[in-house]
């Protein structure tokens, strides 16, 4: 728990700014994490799709 009574208004502004900057940085990291997961998922779909096509080609031959 922060002791707000001992913090000056100037420091409060600085601290609040830091908190929002940290939040935006966290959100950015979450976004990157999400993008990585989606890319990985699409790659899996690709791999599976290619395997299936190759199998189909083999069967046709």
């Amino acid at each position: 728990m922060l002791q707000n009574n001992n913090i000056s208004d100037k420091n409060k502004v600085k601290l609040i700014n830091n908190i929002y900057n940290k939040a935006l940085s966290d959100i950015n990291n979450i976004k990157k994490e999400r993008d990585d997961k989606i890319i990985k998922l699409l790659k899996n779909i690709d791999d599976r799709h290619i395997d299936k096509i190759l199998k189909d080609i083999k069967n046709t031959k």
Binding site: M1, L2, N4, N5, I7, D9, K12, V13, L15, I16, N17, I19, Y20, K22, A23, L24, D26, I27, N28, I30, K31, E33, R34, K37, I38, L41, L42, N44, I45, D46, R48, H49, K52
Partner: protein
């Protein structure tokens, strides 16, 4: 939780806070500015989430599980972002002092705080009210939208997200103002809800019956249990009790394969266990199998299906396929050979190294385990045993005599392989 909800929380947090005096003005400017930045970032992510779902949906080779996985990723992302926003606002409140001054009031508010779904619903309805303001069919849109959001709230958490996103895109869309789209979404959510309820009740039903099926010790017991049930839901079909009984009857008489039965509620496993029970009218074959643990008596029985066999490896009867049976026998042969190799090691420990080495040399050079060489091998073993009186030669001789029909004339013996590897180790 999505942008709508986050937006709601942000709106709820920032604009109502007015500075008590001029000194605080700068602090509230910083807060308002920060909230705007958070709001912008979360809106951007929310829009990207919708695009991501749509992208995966339209991606070549996508299956339904991929869409479910994407929804899972989006839900997780939203939850994390919501957590960041909540923590940020909590920390800011602590700094401006609100938390310490109005703890009691805040606790009370938290109790009354609307759920995340309620907030989404209110926000969507508010947007629709604005969007259709002054239009003739405004009430109809509002009415149908309330029904949709109500249905969405009834869905389980993992199903909700996709519908909230659809509702949001419908509200944002400039084109889909036709009541038809709203009705379609309403019916879709309703069907999903019905499906969820049905699956849930089927699951409960199957769980209840599973316990009773597990306790069955005969086909008669199983018949009683199934007769008193409403059936089972399989992975692709639902079966009523009559249907199941007919399939079981055919499987029991080996007219249908086991996999014709659903695995649900452990039914296939139970029928497999019951079919493994030996038939008193069928001849039981008994044979000795030597493993590292000693010699055991195994029993086997043929079944009307030439591909299936009943086998008892000294513990309990099981129903296995012929190919499994071959594998088991092969493994048993390997174990048997292993047991003799262990015996050779035992001789080493008893300081009979010389005998052991001559034995390995002999096996390595002469002892090719094929039918072509068996006569020669047996003759050599007999001579060796007579001359040295070493039990290992007798054991090997007995082993060959009892297993002669197992040897393949064309394949390299696994025994030889084992011996070779043993030799390599001893080098």
């Amino acid at each position: 939780m999505d942008f709508e909800n986050k937006q709601n929380k942000i709106e709820e947090f920032a604009p109502e806070k007015k500075p008590e005096n001029e000194k605080n003005l700068e602090i509230y400017d910083v807060i308002n500015n920060g909230e705007k930045r958070l709001s912008g970032a979360s809106e951007k992510i929310s829009n990207e989430n919708i695009q991501a779902i749509s992208h995966v949906e339209n991606y070549p080779g996508t299956e339904s599980r991929d869409i479910e996985n994407t929804q899972g990723i989006i839900t997780e992302t939203n939850q994390k972002i919501n957590q960041v926003i909540e923590n940020t606002q909590k920390n800011v409140r602590e700094i401006v002092g609100k938390n310490s001054e109005t703890n009691q009031e805040k606790d009370l508010n938290q109790e009354k705080r609307p759920s995340q779904d309620d907030l989404r619903e209110v926000n969507i309805i508010k947007r629709i009210d604005n969007k259709f303001s002054g239009r003739e069919n405004r009430d109809e849109f509002l009415n149908i939208s309330r029904k949709i959001t109500e249905k969405i709230k009834g869905l389980p958490d993992n199903k909700k997200e996709v519908y909230w996103q659809k509702m949001l895109s419908l509200v944002k869309s400039e084109q889909n103002n036709d009541i038809y789209y709203y009705k379609e979404l309403h019916d879709e959510a309703l069907n999903e809800l019905k499906m969820v309820e049905k699956n849930s009740s089927l699951k409960n039903r199957d769980m209840a019956i599973e316990d009773r099926i597990t306790k069955c010790s005969s086909f008669e017991d199983l018949d009683v249990v199934l007769s008193s049930s409403e059936g089972l839901s399989g992975s692709s079909n639902n079966y009523d009790s009559e249907n199941l009984k007919n399939i079981i009857s055919d499987v029991k008489n080996f007219k249908l394969p086991l996999n014709a039965l659903t695995r649900s509620a452990g039914l296939r496993d139970k029928v497999k266990n019951l079919l493994a029970t030996p038939d008193p009218l069928v001849t039981t074959n008994r044979f000795e199998v030597t493993t590292a643990d000693g010699t055991n008596i195994w029993e086997s029985q043929n079944t009307p299906n030439p591909e299936l066999i009943r086998l008892n490896r000294g513990r309990h009867w099981e129903l296995i396929s012929k190919s499994e049976y071959k594998e088991i026998l092969h493994k048993a042969k390997e174990d048997e050979i292993g047991a003799y190799v262990d015996l050779l090691d035992k001789y080493k420990k008893e300081n009979l190294g010389e005998k052991r080495n001559s034995m390995i040399n002999f096996i390595n050079n002469e002892f090719i385990f094929t039918k072509n060489h068996l006569g020669e091998i047996k003759e050599n073993l007999s001579i060796l045993y007579e001359k040295t009186n070493t039990p290992i030669y007798k054991k090997l001789l007995d082993y060959i005599n009892s297993s002669e029909n197992k040897f393949d004339g064309n394949q390299e013996s696994p025994f030889l392989k084992k011996i070779k590897s043993l030799k390599e180790k001893s080098n």
